[in-house]
């Protein structure tokens, strides 16, 4: 029996007032004038409006209104070339405005961590209620709010963090333990944002797939947040929390941790569970990462450009037994980076691409597209972090040349035809090849493409437990039963 990826969803949440709480700005602001000081003011002079974020070409690619290859012909810088008539909703999901996001955050909050003022709740109630995925029971969780003087007091006396909308104080998020660093306000805010954005992505998935939440059997979250308390930092689960928020009453789940490669690990695990007959419908979900908001702001300010890392991103995928229509996950094609494989770029790519393809007897040039880390280069280049997808595609092209499948002079053609420009928000696990999955599913369903190889790497060494890197890959193929 084959396993298919039946449906996908992609969402962005515009969070300009949370840029101050990205890890990098949150470390830099206190030593550069503090809240309201010089650095925070400078950052906020460079933050984009919601309409600007919606019209940003890479964001339109992410939610499916443009194809990644369209960016080849979109003049750069992309932030100076907004998409005319850009829409909030795309084929794969939506870009949620911050005003509505506060409603999602409060609805996700089961411990009364987030306090919003009565006036702000009154302001957002109608727009939040208008969202098609939220029901009366959800809206009830908004409550009636907490008086502003009580919120101010909580911030001043009890280490709660202020929450802003359009620069004005509208609420706070509190810590939930006196001294436990894993339950301080900043960490709880990061976890809650991953939960709520994962839930938004999962709702879109059910809507697109036309299934009811109660039909889901198992959930794998590949979000990066380390949920837990002082005794089990990172030991907890976002999967079930997201499933609860989406009313998956017949599902449970667990979290998959593998740094930036986690989505590929999760898809492999989900496909294996379906193939083994353990579960019939498995959802892979990734929520957004607050810590990486504004991560490259220094480079952006230096070049006097907008702080482009102002959106949380999320996605969700539904894996099921072969439906005769949807693209197939080739479980015999898994490429893995073994402990003894060596950590040079060449060795990693050989492990992830050449070896698995050789094993199943497929040439590199028989793959229509390669999806790799799809970091938006417009975010990374000004910070001196290079163009990740382009470097990866060049190495893949060089590998094809080394194997004699193409001439050395054809590497650039390989890069253009079988690669794509980076378009993903730089949210760790989010750019890990899977932002192209929606486009691949669509092209294979329409017969425009036969296959795509998804390749992602993870920086295992960041945790200081090993100097190793990590990586995983799989091949997605058009369903051979599709046209009879």
């Amino acid at each position: 029996m084959a396993v298919v990826i039946r449906e996908c969803s992609y969402i962005l949440v515009h969070v300009p007032d949370f840029v101050r709480y990205g890890s990098k700005p949150a470390r830099d602001i206190p030593i550069n004038g503090g809240p309201g000081g010089a650095l925070e003011r400078r950052i906020y002079e460079h933050v984009r409006s919601y309409d600007e974020a919606v019209a940003y070409p890479p964001n339109q690619v992410y939610i499916g209104n443009m194809h990644p290859d369209d960016l080849h012909t979109t003049p750069q810088p992309w932030f100076e070339h907004p998409v005319a008539g850009a829409k909030r909703h795309g084929k794969f999901g939506e870009i949620l405005p911050e005003e509505e996001w506060y409603g999602w955050l409060k609805i996700a909050d089961d411990f009364n961590l987030v306090w919003l003022t009565p006036a702000f709740i009154a302001q957002i109630r109608d727009v939040v209620s208008g969202h098609p995925f939220l029901e009366e029971e959800d809206i009830g969780k908004l409550g009636n709010g907490v008086a502003i003087n009580k919120i101010r007091d909580k911030i001043e006396r009890d280490d709660a963090l202020p929450l802003y909308y359009d620069g004005s104080l509208v609420g706070s998020i509190r810590r939930d333990h006196e001294v436990d660093d894993t339950l301080k306000a900043q960490v709880l805010m990061e976890n809650l944002m991953a939960k709520a954005s994962g839930a938004l992505a999962m709702h879109h998935l059910f809507n697109r797939a036309g299934i009811e939440p109660q039909q889901v059997d198992f959930i794998l979250s590949c979000s990066e947040e380390a949920v837990g308390d002082r005794y089990n930092r990172g030991g907890g689960s976002l999967s079930k929390a997201i499933g609860e928020m989406c009313r998956c009453v017949n599902a449970t789940g667990h979290d998959i941790k593998a740094f930036c490669a986690a989505p590929i690990h999760a898809i492999m695990d989900a496909a294996s569970l379906v193939q083994a007959g353990v579960f019939e419908r498995v959802v892979v979900v990734g929520g957004g990462c607050l810590a990486k908001i504004g991560m490259k702001y220094v480079g952006h300010l230096k070049h006097d450009m907008p702080v482009l890392e102002d959106v949380l991103a999320g996605f969700a995928f539904l894996l099921t037994p072969d439906d005769g229509v949807s693209p197939i996950v080739r479980l015999d094609s898994i490429g893995k980076h073994d402990v003894g494989a060596g950590s040079s770029q060449q060795e990693i790519m050989t492990s992830l691409i050449v070896k698995p393809l050789e094993r199943i007897g497929v040439k590199m040039m028989a793959i229509d597209k390669y999806a790799t880390e799809l970091h938006n280069p417009e975010v990374t280049l000004p910070a001196g972090s290079g163009n990740t997808p382009l470097t990866n595609y060049k190495i893949m092209g060089a590998l094809a040349a080394l194997r004699g499948e193409i001439g050395r002079d054809q590497i650039d053609t390989f890069v253009r035809e079988r690669g794509m420009p980076g378009f993903s928000p730089t949210q760790g696990h989010i750019p890990a090849a899977v932002p192209f999955l929606g486009h691949a599913l669509e092209a294979m369903q329409q017969g425009r493409m036969q296959n795509t190889m998804f390749v992602a790497k993870g920086s295992l060494f960041l945790g200081r437990m090993s100097q190793l890197s990590d990586g995983l890959s799989f091949l997605l193929e058009r369903n051979p039963r599709r046209n009879g």
Partner: protein
């Protein structure tokens, strides 16, 4: 160059002395490598990290420069760097790094 790397290199320079170490960079984008080289010679240009205002004056080379290539066993070089040297203009790298060392002397 991120603050953690800056701090680590500063620590090494403090422990062993700037005269006793050299830096070999591996970034395949020249602009990024140039920023790193500037940081390790005249100081952090963004004034954000531990090397802000600290001029270590370290000699900075790139792994793709011929001087470095010659000092690495051929087999290991091919295995670790061979494929990158196929996709990067190594002459341009050499030119850029010679200029960096001249400028920051």
């Amino acid at each position: 160059m991120d603050p953690e790397s800056q701090a680590q290199i500063k620590r090494i320079a403090d422990d062993f002395g700037s005269d006793n170490i050299m830096v070999v960079l591996g970034a395949s984008d020249i602009e990024g490598a140039e920023i790193a080289a500037e940081t390790l010679t005249v100081g952090d240009p963004s004034f954000a990290g531990p090397l802000a205002g600290v001029s270590l004056g370290l000699p900075v080379y790139h792994i793709l420069e011929p001087e470095v290539k010659e000092s690495v066993p051929e087999e290991i070089y091919e295995q670790e760097v061979g494929i990158v040297s196929m996709i990067v203009d190594t002459e341009e790298v050499s030119r850029a790094f010679r200029k960096i060392r001249e400028t920051n002397k």
